[in-house]
């Protein structure tokens, strides 16, 4: 399906990542957002609040992030594409509702513009330290998808992708920006609406009597109905059967939780988005994501100028973790170097996937700024010995 032209601000703009993310959401068809102000993410909803009344939609500023993160899910079941936007402490408050969205298979997008933590931390300065929280922050076993943009242009493009994945798999998608990407202004090209592919809701066409709210047709993703259409369905965060009714037995739990996991695992190749510059038996592959990937790119170029054989793997999809590609590269490379604006999060995944076949070097940074390219270069040099 093509984007609704009313939401698409076609043209060449000079936008920061937060504003580009908002335009991406509008282009993807989001017509509802609930939010609570928090630096450095607020600009996304400020723009949405200004734009959406002219496009046909609603923004509501809720009393807290607990409210915002469930209000948007009410809107989804009312028929809207919806999202919320937050940072740091607000993201922590939303965790329960990420689990609720995963359990009830509510398609929606959570934007997290990462700032330094823990706690109030560095409200105006960057970090990438919510990566594990995005994956594991809610209790229980569940799967989400997480995307990491590294420019305002990608904040636009990948927000659309985030909505598309959420609709296709009926899963909450974490859009993991960082303060630098959110607040940096660059050229953003917004194409005409007829060049923007939008995944529509998996809305059922079944008759009321044939509709099973959580029954699937083989691909593990059920069809959805909206309130008010006569289906009289039930949605619960309790373990439920195909009717959507609570059924708290180990057998139902096993079937449900495995399906929630498998619908993502089975499609991992399609969900995995990577940017790669690996030619042939590199000594070192630098694995990075978000703003750090741009700093790493400079370090890679500096290393290549010194004659080192260095490849690049940028994770656009961070979750599900693209472990297959890491495994493949581990067979032909000596070492992975993983710079990130935290004290070692995704590097654990790289190390796990490499499984001893290649060495793994972290380049930790506590946040508040970005790495100096020289610091990454130093580790590349060390790793290629």
């Amino acid at each position: 399906m093509k984007a609704d032209p009313r939401g698409v601000l076609t043209g060449t703009h000079f936008l920061d990542g937060d504003h580009a993310c908002c335009e991406g959401a509008l282009a993807a068809g989001a017509r509802f957002a609930a939010g609570y102000p928090i630096t450095p993410s607020t600009e996304v909803v400020e723009r949405f609040a200004s734009r959406v009344p002219k496009v046909g939609g609603t923004f509501i500023q809720m009393e807290d992030e607990l409210a915002a993160s469930i209000t948007l899910q009410g809107a989804v079941w009312g028929g809207a594409k919806a999202f919320t936007v937050t940072s740091g402490p607000g993201f922590s408050l939303m965790m329960e509702h990420i689990g609720y969205a995963a359990m009830t298979e509510t398609p929606c997008v959570f934007v997290d513009v990462q700032r330094g933590g823990p706690s109030t931390g560095l409200p105006t300065l960057p970090a990438q330290a919510d990566m594990m929280q995005a994956r594991w922050g809610s209790h229980g076993d569940y799967e989400i998808i997480a995307l990491c943009p590294n420019s305002p242009q990608e904040c636009f493009d990948l927000t659309i992708q985030a909505f598309n994945f959420s609709e296709e798999f009926r899963v909450p998608v974490m859009f993991m920006m960082d303060e630098v990407v959110g607040h940096m202004t660059e050229k953003v090209i917004i194409p005409p609406a007829d060049q923007i592919e939008v995944v529509p809701r998996r809305h059922t066409r079944k008759a009321v009597e044939d509709y099973l709210p959580y029954g699937t047709n083989g691909d593990g993703v059920p069809e959805m109905a909206h309130a008010g259409e006569g289906y009289k369905f039930h949605v619960t965060g309790l373990t439920h059967d195909e009717h959507g009714y609570p059924n708290m037995t180990p057998a139902t739990q096993d079937k449900l939780v495995r399906r929630l996991q498998n619908k993502i695992h089975d499609a991992i190749d399609r969900i995995t988005l990577l940017e790669e510059e690996c030619f042939d038996s590199e000594d070192v592959v630098v694995v990075s994501y978000g703003i750090t990937s741009r700093v790493a790119q400079r370090a890679i170029e500096m290393a290549r100028e010194r004659g080192l054989k260095v490849g690049k793997l940028r994770l656009i999809t961070c979750w599900p973790f693209p472990e297959k590609r890491i495994r493949e590269l581990a067979a032909t490379t000596k070492a992975f170097v993983v710079p990130e604006l935290n004290l070692g999060q995704m590097v654990r995944e790289v190390e796990r996937a490499a499984n001893g076949k290649a060495r793994t070097f972290a380049v930790p940074h506590a946040g508040g700024s970005v790495h100096r390219p020289e610091d990454i270069l130093k580790v590349i040099v060390e790793a290629s010995r």
């Binding site: 000079f14 105006t124 300065l125 630098v180 607040h183 741009r294 790119q297 400079r298 970005v370």
Partner: protein, 199 residues
């Protein structure tokens, strides 16, 4: 001509259009001149107390590292910004100052200094608010970093339509002032009141 990676800092106080100036120059480079530009602004305690500053990188190639490390060019519109930021300026860099608001002291001798009474020129045009467009025009003339037409379009594209004409006039005024300054002193203006730092 291929643009080299050029690092800029624009600094002053709130209400001078510091951020807007950076947006205009960034747009000119990336949208109207087919190059690349990355702008970041300072948030947090640094942005308080009326101080305001923007960083802009311009390049013919995609920009990777998003921050200014050592500015090649600095536009300074307040004394506070001068004191805080000028020590960062690259050796032999270009310093553009608001003539009536900044007293230039303690500069390395190689620094090229250009000075423009942007506020006064803007007031003469009837609106103090357009001083940033005067400054952008002046910048365009003296640095010759960006094409005049590209910057002109970016000005027109960035200001409210009701003030477009006035801003373009301000841009031309600043540009003309810059051209004259260059004719009078092609390499850089010299100031009697500049006291140079020990080298």
């Amino acid at each position: 001509m291929q643009l080299q990676l050029t690092e800029l800092r624009i600094a002053g106080f709130g209400g001078q259009g510091v951020i807007l100036s950076a947006i205009v120059l960034g747009k000119a480079a990336s949208i109207y001149q087919g190059a690349y530009a990355t702008m970041t602004q300072n948030f947090g305690p640094e942005a308080r107390g009326g101080a305001c500053s923007a960083q802009l990188l311009i390049s013919g190639d995609p920009i990777l590292y998003p921050y200014v490390t050592q500015p090649d060019i600095m536009v300074v519109m307040s004394q506070e910004a001068y004191t805080r930021f000028v020590p960062e300026l690259k050796e032999g860099g270009i310093l553009i100052v608001e003539q009536d608001l900044v007293r230039v002291t303690d500069l390395p001798r190689q620094t090229k200094v250009y000075s423009c009474p942007a506020t006064r020129l803007a007031e003469e045009l009837g609106k103090r608010m357009v001083l940033n467009s005067v400054m952008v025009g002046f910048f365009t003339a003296v640095t010759r970093l960006l094409e005049k037409e590209a910057v002109r379009k970016a000005v027109a594209d960035s200001v409210p339509s009701s003030f477009c004409e006035l801003n373009l006039k301000a841009f031309e005024t600043g540009y003309e002032y810059g051209v004259q300054s260059l004719q009078e002193s092609p390499h850089a203006q010299q100031f009697e009141h500049v006291s140079y730092a020990e080298e």
